[in-house]
Symmetry: C2
Subunit: 462 residues, 2 copies
């Protein structure tokens, strides 16, 4: 065959592989985004009769979240944290609270989706509004025994809380481990890492020979500390963009920074719960969080758009995008914070759908990692007619919605500075179903969280 003919065929085969065989996978995780959070965001952003972009996706199911006991891994726990739930999605293995890419008790490293994707020659990326070393993105790269082993600073610590042992020293490179999460990120072959957590990379590595930033650069990363620099970074290099010290600022807050507050019962109520009266906190609205603009925070959508620009048209990719602070703001009893971060997720889902329109071989999965504390409750009480003071023993925020209603949100899982997660099954949304070899739908009405791993693996043929 003539040389020109051979070259022509090679070009053809590349074009064919890029256009028909290259598959793209966008996994979007709303941290803590259970049905209560989605309903609250729908009510506020679109009105009770409106719908979010999630509601327009053709496939909807539910995901059962599994957690194992650390010392007795056959015993289930019924409430997860982001570390074990992200590990389930990333590796297909249900593990114990706090673990990142390792098995309960046995501490075995579990192969994750980005490792499989890289092995297959796909491009990979992780985007988060949290520190990029935080539990959710970390579980798609790293293997440590506890999410707290986040940077070299924590690595010689040993802590024990009852059954829970955090022994970061186990993961030290000098002890045969893979190092802290931030070290494993800069050692990785991931193409795009965007989020917060700059402070974890400014530290020196375990051998104290260089900072993690220097180490990242040696490993082929362009490192950016603001979004403009990230956009202008060398396209032929990997990209590590960390745009705030720790987690990125959130878009919204309540009026004047207010969060949910405790109802005030009158003194008479101290004597009996049916005596006296109760005052609910003043109503509030959601307003921009000034810190978000002041710190030039990139939106989740902007970061995701940059990631897509870097990953697409290169033979397929796996991209995980997390809206992290739906959860973090719910821990802090700040419903406006959560709603704003849900909106960031919705905008990003729209971006992903637009991308999929131009690139049909793109699977978009949207899910949450676990339930959160917020509950929409009556503004007042269903039992007001009884004429006794009735309100939550927790904290309540009463949001004036743009459509003219008042939506009351309750936080009452504890009285600590941070609310608890809940154990409810979480929703799953997809732009298409995933078929097995026999053409059968793999997204069933209920799946287990570790099935997310299998879905991605099947779709990308990893």
């Amino acid at each position: 065959m003539a040389l020109w003919m051979k070259s022509f065929l090679v070009v053809c085969s590349i074009l064919i592989s890029e256009t028909s065989l290259a598959k793209n996978m966008i996994l979007i995780i709303g941290d803590g985004m259970d049905d209560q959070q989605i309903t609250a965001a729908r009510n506020y952003l679109h009105g009770a009769q409106g719908s979010t972009i999630l509601d327009t996706l053709p496939v909807r199911g539910a995901v059962q979240v599994l957690t194992q006991d650390e010392t007795q891994p056959k015993t289930p726990l019924y409430v997860a944290d982001s570390a074990n739930s992200a590990t389930a999605m990333a590796t297909g293995v249900s593990t114990s609270i706090g673990r990142i890419g390792t098995s309960a008790n046995a501490d075995k490293d579990l192969t994750n989706l980005t490792e499989l994707a890289i092995k297959k020659g796909l491009k990979t990326g992780l985007v988060s509004t949290a520190a990029i070393t935080d539990a959710t993105p970390a579980a798609f790269v790293a293997h440590v025994n506890q999410r707290g082993c986040q940077s070299p600073k924590r690595m010689d610590q040993y802590e024990s809380y009852g059954d829970l042992v955090i022994d970061c020293a186990l993961d030290l490179k000098s002890n045969g481990g893979l190092g802290s999460i931030s070290e494993q990120l800069v050692d990785s072959q991931i193409d795009v890492l965007l989020g917060g957590g700059a402070k974890f990379f400014k530290l020196k590595n375990e051998s104290k020979s260089q900072t993690l930033i220097e180490q990242a650069q040696l490993n082929g990363f362009d490192v950016a500390f603001d979004f403009d620099s990230a956009q202008n970074s060398d396209e032929n290099k990997k990209l590590l963009g960390v745009f705030d010290k720790k987690h990125l600022e959130v878009k919204w807050q309540g009026t004047g920074g207010r969060v949910a507050e405790k109802p005030q019962f009158s003194i008479l109520n101290w004597f009996h719960k049916y005596l006296g009266s109760v005052s609910l906190p003043d109503e509030m609205k959601c307003e921009p969080n000034p810190e978000y603009a002041q710190r030039n925070t990139p939106s989740l959508k902007a970061m995701s758009e940059l990631a897509l620009t870097r990953l697409h048209n290169k033979g397929g990719f796996f991209l995980m995008i997390e809206s992290a602070s739906i959860d973090k703001q719910s821990h802090k009893r700040n419903p406006c914070g959560s709603i704003g971060e849900a909106e960031q997720l919705f905008e990003t889902v729209q971006l992903a759908l637009d991308f999929a329109k131009d690139n049909p071989d793109t699977l978009i999965l949207v899910t949450a990692d676990h339930g959160q504390a917020a509950q929409i409750i009556p503004n007042g009480s269903m039992f007001n007619a009884y004429g006794v003071p009735i309100s939550t023993p927790g904290a309540i925020a009463r949001l004036q919605t743009p459509e003219g209603g008042v939506m009351a949100i309750n936080y009452a899982t504890n009285e600590f500075s941070h609310e608890e997660h809940t154990g409810v099954n979480v929703p799953l949304f997809a732009n298409q179903n995933v078929k097995d070899k026999n053409g059968e739908d793999l997204i069933k009405p209920l799946i287990q969280q570790r099935d997310i791993f299998s879905l991605v693996k099947t779709y990308l043929e990893l």
Copy 2:
């Protein structure tokens, strides 16, 4: 044409209409059965890795629950009660709290599904573990301005609570109304009414001329006060079976009748929330509620089976079945009560699926009317490591699950004798999708609650 030939063709046409055109609709409502309740029941009954019968249904979606303000019907409320949510399903119109088959503010009677089904010549039935006059079944028959207008006894009452006016006199027959809910039930052409609420039928009617039982008998009902009598009732008559004074007893309770209890904080904790210690309530198990057997309570499945026997093979039917006390037990902070009643619903869904296997023209929809207060939270706290006392300010029950775990359930929407509902969107399950004339699926990933009315109307061609 010869007479025998004509007769043959008539028989043929009847057979064809019964076998291919007669459609059956079974709408199963789990009162308060949101995703938290389903997850708790799944964990307890089938294990965290198990699945309920609901999870095996091929169609799953979510339903947005809508409620209108009574005085300003264009203003939304974000938490429903069973009356307005059942009215939305039964009539396709979103209304205000407490209303049964009437519109917010204007108090217009709204046509419901059983009225349309009866008009078309279909058989109809309502089955509930609550009093059959309770909000959910009532909304499928009656039209009153408040759910409290349940029996003749309440009908001359007028009550006002702020904006809320309960003026049962409006609905008196002597004032041009349709009478109380129990009167409207005995006046109805519904073929099967099974549940509790005997006490509401032993009263004399508005004109004091006869009891409602006598009136029911005059209107063609066989009336039964125990399940044996109901089973042996005249098949050619309508059937009113009321098997307890008010609501039916529930199957399960917590150990020794215990429900969720408040954690006990030590005295030191009164001075500061991070001082002292906290004791959680003892763990418990679910056990049979002795009252259930003592009162010969029929199961929801048994009642539903009887209803199906009476309704099928008669040209199609509409049957609404409610497991009412998932909600009522959650109001009372009794997780075992709710789980047992969820199990009753699951058994009934299995019955319906078995029926649909033999009768393929059967649509089964399973949904909830609104969210409830229960939340699965950590057994202890995610933040135990901080060494300070942390627990819910509400009540907590810690259930030892048959698979060897401990599932903690939190109730903290108020400190009244009854918890509040929540405003979360609720799940919808179906054995098949409903198609419009163009073959398009009508059960979308998100629908509004009033769309349930349209789905049934379309399927049964009402």
